[in-house]
Symmetry: C2
Subunit: 341 residues, 2 copies
DNA sequence: TATGCATATGATTGCGCTGTCATGTTGTGT
DNA sequence: ACACAACATGACAGCGCAATCATATGCATA
């Protein structure tokens, strides 16, 4: 049937264990032998059997990505792609596990999958990475995990994030620098750690500039188009008293705000500036395209994979060295203009 | 450490093999014994080890999803979610493998992953499912595969699709029934089998209604927003001679057409009707929302998984019974109106 | 030359499960 | 009552690999 390590060993004139050593990059193999083995592997087209590897060894070469995102938004997609790419590099594989935070049974299914597959590690995406009950259970079984943008309990475990608060601060400052003094804000899902951070960054910037923020200028939202539309219609509804700029907590809701403006006949960016967050693909293609904050989602997921496969992390999961804060970037596009006089 | 089948067997007072029988739903286990075993499994929290199962048995309980879609569009996301859901039901797991059709090395990586993981089956998504070289290689190793919307070589292997041509035909008829007689068309990526089928359905309907289609009314595209924008601008550029409706080959390009109309000051749907295809999430939320064809992507992927785990398919991959044509649905929304007089 | 240590390799065992086959233990028809 | 099936269970081997330990080589130092 299929080529096994034994076949390679025989063909190369060494023991299976030596082939195994070459495969796993262990020390104590003469370069000349190593070369012969590698050549034989290639010639025979040998591919190690993961099941046997994981049964005999300690690792499964499988990393989990747990996501609670029923629509599989661009955010989840960006992370997934980055994670897969890095897994390939490292000869690992990614198993995607969707979880519904609102369903206890769903968490059960995740734990079952983890045990089934003997995952080597798991990447937790908002809002899962802020669920204490889930974190507790994962810690209880000793599974290495990395949180993506948890926004809280930074000391608890490894994490990968950007400085959301600073990014929101910078973006708000940009609007202020263009003369905007009355800026509305559309929030995200409250359970996402990013939501309070982005709001805080926004408020920091406004306060630092000495600009007041009426409570009615802060509208709820849930990171999707509709909430942007609704929040936008409320913020822009009163022609006598409307903000000249709106900060939406992500790009989808920013598109909703633009749609609301368009319905009300308010030209963007001439009469209203709109900014989003995340740099979703759609933010680049809609018209006007949206000024936003680019999160390096692929890099973040890649960093998470790297942490999980790092034996040093597996040895000491409390190690503070595994807290990655990646750079963000403000992307200037067409949805922002100077404050209308 | 972890509970094994042996522990369960001892606790239940039976042999490991009997537990294995219960696990795999084999015949010849007394109901009373089965009950005791199941109770013990539950009590001990036993989770079978996939690696051991796959090493000892013939199945890996892993299904692959191969996708060539660098942006991981809504199409890929919809399929993925449906596949994962069905996998869970069946106690399988999904491993996502992105492939770049333009990179030979990428196909190599896919084949390596297949061998590594001993996949039980693989789902091929356009345009991969029309790559003869890839299909040949997969057949050569005897791996069961299902093609999603291949649009050609229907007899070659199992497939899951909708009747793209009929759907495009129906959608075009809808426009014609509203009085439109001059309809433009934006194509998709030529390598995707859906592209010629949707075009053919469109042309069929036009011809059947006795309506001419000038060559300039057919614009190229690649399923994304930009190509819709460009094609739209060309189709609508001449105010003296412009179609009253445009059929875009998917929702992204339909949004591009709407954006083009908006730039040119052409109100949709008053002066121009636009239809898309796929019923992407965005089609529902933009304004105006887009009349389109809903493909049951989740069901399609689910059906693909069901075929792959079906032992009858594994036994006879030529069986014509495994060709699934799922129903589509035309979704009427705000982007279509009667032909302006 | 003898001693030690770093380097290099192989023999053996077992991971947890399923496949095969042997062995019981009931039921059914005559 | 007997043969013979259908049913029910267990003993045992082995999947392909890595971990462990034992065993060989070199090569410098005393």
């Amino acid at each position: 049937m299929n080529v096994t390590i034994k076949d390679v060993a025989e063909a190369a004139g060494v023991s299976p264990k030596t082939v195994s050593r070459v495969l796993n990059g262990e020390a104590y193999v003469r370069p000349s032998v190593k070369e012969v083995v590698l050549e034989t592997i290639n010639r025979l087209g040998y591919k190690p059997n993961m099941a046997a590897r994981s049964l005999a060894g300690a690792r499964s070469y499988l990393i989990g990505l747990a996501v609670d995102d029923p629509t599989w938004s661009a955010y989840a997609a960006g992370l997934q792609l980055g994670a897969i790419k890095k897994c390939r590099e490292r000869n690992y594989h990614l198993v995607v596990e969707p979880v519904d935070t609102n369903q206890a049974e769903s968490e059960e299914a995740l734990m079952r999958a983890i045990a089934h597959l003997r995952l080597d590690g798991i990447i937790l995406v908002p809002p899962l990475c802020t669920s204490d009950s889930l974190l507790d259970r994962i810690e209880a079984i000793g599974l290495p995990y990395v949180r993506v943008a948890p926004g809280q309990q930074p000391e608890r475990s490894a994490l990968v994030e950007i400085d959301e608060r600073q990014a929101a601060f910078d973006l708000t400052c940009h609007l202020i620098s263009l003369g905007h003094r009355d800026i509305g804000f559309i929030q995200g899902i409250e359970q996402h750690a990013a939501t309070p951070l982005r709001r805080a960054g926004f408020l920091d910037a406004m306060h630092q500039a000495g600009l007041p923020v009426k409570p009615s200028r802060i509208q709820p939202g849930d990171f999707n188009f509709h909430s942007g539309l609704e929040g936008g219609e409320i913020l822009l509804g009163d022609a006598q008293d409307r903000p000249t700029a709106i900060f939406a907590s992500n790009d989808d809701s920013a598109m909703g705000v633009i749609a609301a403006a368009s319905r009300l006949g308010i030209p963007v960016p001439q009469a209203l500036s709109v900014v989003g967050f995340d740099d979703a693909p759609a933010a680049r293609i809609v018209w006007p395209d949206i000024t936003t904050v680019r999160q390096p989602l692929g890099d973040m997921a890649g960093a998470a994979v790297e942490i999980l496969v790092d034996p040093r992390y597996r040895a000491n999961m409390q190690d503070v060295a595994f807290r990655r804060v990646l750079p963000y970037e403000i992307i200037h596009r067409g949805s922002v203009g100077p404050c209308p006089t």
